[in-house]
Symmetry: C3
Subunit: 349 residues, 3 copies
């Protein structure tokens, strides 16, 4: 696993200052780097660490390019260069493109070229796997599902019937796509199950983190558009629609039928009620409680109380529960004070 | 997949206005419906959409029955009719009732009639599967577990030893039932593991959503009563008891030994501490932080700060942390103001 | 399954008052205990239940030893004795130490003595399993992973490539260890994937609860030190480091690169941002929102609003959103009041 600096520079449109034949054999942090390693610096506070750094090449912004005496790759976005070079250093061994004999594959399955199916996979009827798909051990693919080119299912993934994946999606271990949405009609004190008749449709270049769950629609489709990145342990309810390139950090829960715009950034453990609309480019910080639509494109939203020492917090939440009463008292006081001031001014004049 | 309106009307005690021989071949929303589709309207704001709607039949409340010119099924609870008709339109192909040769089934397993066991299932010793059970691919059933009639385990479910399911339960993909509760005794700075000796007992008609976890009891049983519906990614601690027909939305965590009453509605991402009691019929809104028992039957509880724009929120949480001090100031001001008012009144009189 | 009181007393350094040959055949609560059962009491409020208790032995602190007329095991920490005795009463049948023929085990696997590999396990190349490991059905172990002596993977666990487990770890069902961290570099409006080149390293005696996810590091390792106990549905981001004997309750999410000290107690559903430092011995109560480092060793932290009835809560969160304005008003009022008081004092003097 290695790449020449020349190849990397061409791929990222970076400019080399130094030895372009330099071979990159790993990525490290400036303090731990050895010969063969590439480092990158985005935050100027790390520039001092370049003193005595043993890396073979450091990726720096143009204004910092003289901070390193060795070979430098100059690029406006060093973090992006890091992302590109990381592709050469996968910790996973190259997949043998083969179909393991223990896999249980229905005879109707359409399998493209260069597809890999690991041990103990189960594929039901009428599934399509396009070229270059890699299906991890123990994964189960429900009937009539289709995977576009170069999709990867890691080990122990479950796709339910009629799930559609675009191209180059990565579905991590333990993910469940297309299991039933949570729909029940009240019927006296009991609940009448609503069969979830729709499916899940996922675009290109989507990534879904380990043990996340994406429910099938009640009617029509739950839709995850191109380029969406979802972290681990996220719940996406039925009929949710997520716009292109939106990113959702771990432990979020998105209620049914909520529509999230493009290019949103949703922090970890955010909860959203159902049937909301979130505008394009909205940013929501971690653990926010979203109970209404957020219609202002590009705005940033937050909630929660932050953390305090427990004793102080206990006293403060007692007051939180009296907040409306306190606000009324303040309003009354403000009114009285104004009368006093007015009277004083009157008597002063 | 189809059903006649006559059959549906009989099943739901609805009244047909129009063509009772009408064949229902799908369910849709009023704006997208084609011939063969059934629509239903619960919220009057959708009635306008019936103008020009192409559905073959619309389910309406009696007071709205004249809003649609075509065939109408009159019912007081159109949403319930939708739930009933949805049963005819499962997106899953009919299960072949067979036992896949790749399943590893212990010789002591008791298997009822019409049971289906998919590929790569593993069943340990002394398990009982009653008639009509369907076990999904890759599921693992621990020793001495028993499933009542017509239970369904979707793909990749894990039931641990001694788990008991009633009848007609649906356990979704990735669910783990009966793995160990979280019990450790402090022993100096270390933790001594407490073997979880109990099990999980689940009633009839219970549904547990994808990737949820229900822990076995330390002693005795964790109990999920009849008709409980649990959504995805929910954690139920050891020795929890959940009353009949309670519904728990996704991402909740219920601490050990908490007892929840019947007919409660627990919103998404609610957290409950352990050893609490929640009265029957309690409703808790999403993301609530429940640290004490809620003993008032039928009451509704909430917590959280809601969401604000980030800048405003930052200013407000600073104040939250000063809330007790502010409350004391307000109290002092109120006292002073009262003295001033009293004095003024005194001087006025 | 049984143990003599003599053996238990020796193991725990307890003192027997009564019949040391007494055979313990189970553990129960004082009100439900039968002959053969052991009970234990930590909270004095339960002492009254010993009146008429049928247990064969009760574990009591020295100051309570006369509350039970039968045989007593005197110990300063009865809860610890309970933990020790529970080890004799596992609900799981003894594992047959065998390798199931359906397991798919790469020929390069190094397998120690007395190892058990259940049905449908998949083990990739260059994996090491030390003596006494037990691998549950359907689990998948990625290439070049290693497990120390007596590790247990329950059913349907996934370990990704290069994962290292110490000795005596228990990884519960549905856990995913070592899948990719969530790393993407912005590149115009899209996201460039960052290959996660590191791994996960887990110490001795670590336990990880069902369906939790521990991400591999971007560079270097995500590290879980000796004795850490993690509950169900917890997300640990890439490059997190968790100190010895720290305990993390269910549904927490820990952001990438956060470093948690030793002997911390993290309550359920706590969310931590990334890149934080949490000091040794810190306690954090359930659902806390940790957005900054907590540097005070042994301190206790909390957040949230607690729960109120919904109507009251609605009024209070309106006020929360006006809190900064209200605080300014209070400050102004306080200043005016001080002027009035000063003036009054002036006119009084």
């Amino acid at each position: 696993m290695s790449v020449t600096l020349k190849e990397l520079a061409e791929k990222t449109n970076g400019i080399i200052k130094g030895d372009e034949s330099c071979l990159i054999e790993g990525v490290s942090s400036p303090d731990k780097a050895n010969k063969g390693d590439l480092c990158f610096i985005t935050d100027p506070k790390w520039l001092a660490a370049l003193e005595g750094c043993n890396a073979s090449v450091v990726v720096l912004k143009d204004e910092h390019k003289d901070y390193f005496k060795g070979t430098v790759l100059v690029h406006e976005n060093p973090y992006y260069v890091y992302a590109v070079v990381s592709q050469y250093f996968s910790p996973y061994p190259a997949v043998e493109r083969s179909i393991h004999p223990s896999a249980v594959i229905h005879e109707t399955t359409m399998i493209g070229n260069n597809v890999s199916i690991a041990a103990n996979v189960v594929i039901e009827q009428n599934v399509t796997l396009a070229d270059d798909c890699v299906i991890g051990a123990g994964s189960v693919i429900g009937s009539s599902s289709s995977l576009g080119v170069a999709c990867q299912l890691r080990a122990n993934v479950t796709l339910h019937a009629n799930t559609q994946l675009g191209e180059r999606c990565i579905i991590h271990s333990g993910v469940v796509v297309g299991d039933d949405g949570f729909g029940f009609a009240p019927n006296n004190d009991q609940w009448q199950r609503i069969e979830q008749m729709g499916n899940v449709v996922i675009g290109n270049d989507v990534e879904i983190g380990a043990n996340s769950t994406i429910d099938r629609a009640a009617i029509n489709s739950t839709v995850i558009h191109n380029g969406v990145k979802i972290d681990n342990l996220v719940q996406i309810g039925h009929n949710v629609i997520i716009g292109e390139n939106t990113i959702i950090v771990a432990c979020c829960g998105i209620g049914g039928s909520t529509v999230i715009g493009k290019n949103c950034k949703i922090g970890g453990a955010v909860g959203m009620a159902g049937h909301l609309e979130i505008a394009d480019g909205v940013m929501i910080t971690g653990m926010s409680q979203v109970t209404g639509s957020l219609v202002k494109s590009g705005a940033s939203y937050s909630s929660g109380t932050g953390v305090s020492e427990t004793g102080l917090w206990r006293r403060n939440i007692v007051r939180f529960k009296q907040l409306n009463e306190m606000a009324k008292t303040v309003k009354k006081l403000d009114k009285h004070m104004q009368q006093i001031i007015d009277k004083d001014h009157g008597s002063d004049s």
